[in-house]
């Protein structure tokens, strides 16, 4: 009745009886999160840290086996760091900067991501998804021990929802039978196949790509070392697929991805001896390895029309799906949480009107569109859909060997960067003359060294007035919301990164920054009126 649909990498939230199961009438909770994947757990961390009771219901008792996501972007790591679990990720993950592109039998070029200095986190960190989830769950346990109201309920499967105007009624199945609860807000973080979407009869349309990808995670044995680089082959000579990707993970594990085409015999392809034929052809017979995990996946690019349906809010794979090229799945899910957490917090605390949550919908739909566009473009390059697109693709690859201009056209996945909410409903005007483009209203704040630490650690969690070389009278209070002041002088800016990223040609600047570290407005000097009105706008109190 409550059988596992997949094997666990590890147990994290074993079933325990909870008091709601013994209540005579259904208990009412402020927020319940359906699904304990990375997005669900991150949502609980975000809300719990604001003191809002967050209950995660998951139909399993821990994290699923198999690595799935391996590339975690800077922004996801910064978000995790705000929740207090960035450091173990930094310790565990593998940093890579060099990528090599191969076409047929030869390397056509290599590139270096040339990371910008002055960020706590690298552009990307590779680690198996179960580690990413484990560090967040461990953090949730720590916060629970400190008394924060987070609850993770394993083997609690949501089997029924009734959506009312101002609450949702859930039927939850457990090994000891069902129980009913009422929730003010339901977060649907139940993954790509989202049963919740199904129960609510919501559409999920998009483009299905007719291709199968075989992933093998292998552990190298012996002393032949492979470099920590990303290798991407277009039409490899070893005929193991029409494209192949090799990527390093921690624990000497390598991810290899073979593009197999559409008409395949899944069962045959998944047999270890057949996977080994492909791997041996690619790695050469002298390399010894052990198979850790393998799977065949197909993918689609699609999103829900709306991420908010009254009291139900969708996030992560439940709301949108992209191809894995570009690592935008879990990474965009983390940005959903980042965007939703503080808004839901303000609404639950009665500080903002419910309509603030419509900006979650508009901003994250905008983000999902950008992700879908990027991942569709990568996919069209990797698997050209027509004869002429293949001709152009191969022309780019051939030219890239000799001519630098063609290299930026090679698209084997544009790696995930957070989106700028240009034109977003919560943005106010840009009044910083000569201010850098990258920190315009709507943009996520880039990190920068400040004194002996980093700027990111000084922002986040609440609204901040960031004053650089500017006088600010003290914290800003408006309509029940306070914005903390962070004052920095460029004297603390040893390598000029802060000035470069936040001042540009301006001598001083005052920014209003949202709790998710996106810029709400900016100006050259403190202007209380403007800041107050921007704060009202950013909290949904002025439209």
């Amino acid at each position: 009745m409550l059988d596992d649909r997949y094997k666990l990498a590890f147990e994290a939230y074993p079933y325990e009886r909870n008091s709601d199961q013994d209540a005579d009438t259904p208990v009412r909770h402020p927020v319940v999160i359906m699904g304990g994947g990375p997005v669900g757990v991150a949502t609980a961390l975000d809300l719990g840290r604001q003191g809002i009771r967050a209950i995660v219901l998951d139909d399993h008792e821990g994290v699923g086996m198999g690595s799935r996501a391996i590339c975690f972007a800077k922004r996801s790591l910064e978000i995790a760091d705000r929740y207090g679990c960035g450091d173990p990720m930094l310790d565990k993950g593998v940093v890579w900067n060099v990528g090599k592109v191969f076409y047929e039998d030869r390397k056509v070029f290599e590139f270096n991501l040339l990371p910008e200095d002055g960020h706590k986190f690298p552009a990307f960190l590779n680690m198996q998804q179960p580690y990413f989830e484990q560090f967040m769950i461990e953090r949730a346990r720590e916060l629970q021990a400190e008394g924060m109201p987070i609850e993770l309920r394993g083997k609690n499967r949501v089997d029924g929802v009734v959506v009312k105007d101002d609450h949702v009624v859930l039927t939850v199945m457990t090994p000891e039978g069902p129980y009913t609860i009422e929730v003010d807000w339901l977060i649907g973080a139940d993954g790509a196949n989202s049963p919740l979407r199904g129960m609510m009869g919501l559409e999920f349309e998009g483009r299905v790509f007719e291709d199968n990808f075989l992933i093998a995670d292998i552990k190298m044995k012996g002393d032949k070392s492979f470099p920590t680089e990303r290798w991407f082959w277009f039409e490899p000579p070893f005929k193991s697929g029409s494209s192949t990707l090799l990527h390093k993970q921690p624990d000497d594990v390598w991810r290899i991805d073979f593009q197999l085409g559409w008409e395949i015999d899944r069962k045959e392809e998944l047999k270890e001896e057949n996977i080994r034929v492909r791997l041996d052809a690619m790695l050469g017979p002298e390399i010894e390895y052990e198979m850790v995990w393998s799977s065949i996946y197909t993918f689609q690019c699609k999103r829900m029309d709306r991420f908010r349906e009254g009291r139900v809010i969708f996030a992560g794979d439940a709301a949108h799906q992209v191809s894995p090229f570009g690592a935008r799945g879990a990474n965009s899910g983390m940005q959903d949480v980042d965007n939703l957490g503080w808004k839901l917090g303000l609404v639950v605390q009665g500080k903002s009107p419910e309509s603030l949550l419509d900006s979650y919908d508009s901003e994250r739909v905008f983000g999902a569109e950008e992700n879908i566009m990027n991942s569709t473009r990568s996919t069209d390059f990797i698997t050209p859909k027509s004869e002429i697109s293949k001709i152009f693709r191969n022309a780019v690859l051939n030219l890239s060997e000799k001519h630098a201009f063609a290299r930026p056209l090679v698209n084997s996945g544009r790696l995930s960067v957070p989106c700028v909410y240009d034109g977003g409903v919560l943005n106010s005007s840009d009044d910083l003359h000569g201010g850098p483009d990258r920190t315009r209203p709507g943009a996520p704040c880039p990190d920068a060294p400040v004194g002996s630490g980093f700027l990111m650690a000084k922002l986040g969690d609440d609204f901040v007035v960031l004053a650089i070389n500017a006088d600010v009278p003290g914290m800003l209070e408006e309509a029940g919301i306070t914005a903390r002041v962070v004052s920095i002088s460029t004297e603390d800016d040893s390598n000029g990164a802060l000035a470069d990223r936040y001042l540009g040609d301006a001598k001083s600047a005052v920014y209003l920054i949202r709790p998710d570290q996106h810029v709400a407005t900016r100006m050259g000097a403190y202007d209380g009126m403007k800041l107050r009105s921007a704060l009202r706008r950013a909290t949904g109190q002025e439209v």
Partner: protein, 62 residues
């Protein structure tokens, strides 16, 4: 920013045309298609200005 020039701009047009054809000489259909694709990419990069390229894409539709 300059507009797409649709007036005659190449000196000795017959020579240019002969160069174009001779570049394709001896190529199979597939090789010619690949050559054309590379040529378009090289020329587009040289133009650089995306507005001009967009206009060129329009103009080529006839």
């Amino acid at each position: 920013m300059s507009d797409l020039n649709l007036n005659q701009n190449i000196d000795k047009p017959d020579d240019f045309y002969a160069d174009l054809l001779s570049a394709h000489e001896g190529l199979s259909k597939a090789e010619s298609d690949a050559f054309n694709a590379r040529l378009i990419l090289v020329l587009a990069n040289h133009i650089g200005d995306r507005e001009v390229i967009k206009d060129a894409l329009e103009a080529a539709k006839i």
